[in-house]
């Protein structure tokens, strides 16, 4: 059987790189940033950041919106939500969320 690269493959491949996860963290903290704003936080060349953003866009993890002449980058949580929904059942969500919140609260103290 011939192997076809799926959307899910692209998501996991994009997430497998720490620099790209850092870019998503930056957008999670402040959504809708330009390339210049993202570069200001990073110790990477503009070309390297652009390359990572292209991979993130191909995976639909980042989407862009034009506002005048500014290209704004947004974290798109849909692929991750769809992966979550694939393995976490409708009635487990509340418990999973509560446990994650508990872990977060305990570790912040």
């Amino acid at each position: 059987m011939r192997y076809v690269v799926t959307d899910t493959d692209r998501v996991f491949k994009a997430l497998a790189d720490p620099s790209r996860r850092l870019l998503l963290d930056l957008l999670h903290a402040e959504n809708g940033q330009t390339l210049g704003e993202l570069c200001a936080h990073l110790d990477m060349t503009r070309q390297a950041v652009t390359k990572h953003l292209v991979l993130l866009e191909d995976a639909n993890l980042v989407v862009t919106v034009w506002r005048g002449r500014a290209k704004l980058h947004y974290l798109n949580p849909m692929p991750i939500t769809e992966i979550f929904d694939r393995w976490v059942g409708k009635y487990e969500r509340r418990q999973v969320r509560a446990l994650a919140d508990l872990k977060k609260a305990l570790e912040e103290n």
């Binding site: 959504n31 005048g68 798109n76 949580p77 769809e82």
Partner: protein, 148 residues
């Protein structure tokens, strides 16, 4: 202009007409939008309501239809029922449906929250689950992956 706070993009294997229907038909919205019905005639200038169905119905969101171009684009304002008359407190939601080869690229943009942090927080929590539920319903016919 205020930049959008959230942009959500999902690729859904369905026709634009089916997605439009799923966004605008109360019986359909109820199946994936956590028992909420979206009610309106979806004509520009008309009111729309987002109603939680139960023993007693509860109106959670109200607004106006600002743009309606079925099955491509729908723009509505979004407010708490108490803020219905105060348009400064209305945010704005845009649904954009772009037909591709075998699927539709659905973009949902929510913007112009002003300083309403509470509304911002509550919608940012809700949208991904709603859109993912819509995708699952249209692609599999089920509201969410069944679980025993």
């Amino acid at each position: 202009m205020d930049k959008p706070k959230f942009v959500y993009v999902s690729y859904i294997e369905a026709t634009p007409e089916k997605i439009w229907n799923a966004l605008s038909d109360p019986e359909m919205t109820r199946r994936y939008w956590f028992d909420h019905e979206n009610v309106s005639d979806w004509k520009v200038g008309s009111k729309w309501q987002h109603i939680l169905k139960g023993e007693t119905d509860k109106i959670h969101v109200v607004g106006k239809v600002l743009e309606s171009d079925p099955p491509r684009k729908l723009v509505v304002s979004w407010a708490r029922p108490v803020d219905e008359a105060d348009e400064a407190k209305h945010s704005r939601v845009t649904y954009l449906l772009e037909a591709l080869d075998k699927s539709v690229r659905l973009t949902v943009t929510h913007e112009e929250f002003g300083d309403d942090q509470e509304m911002l927080k509550s919608v940012s929590f809700g949208w991904p689950a709603v859109i993912s539920g819509l995708k699952t319903l249209l692609e599999t016919g089920r509201a969410l992956p069944a679980k025993m």
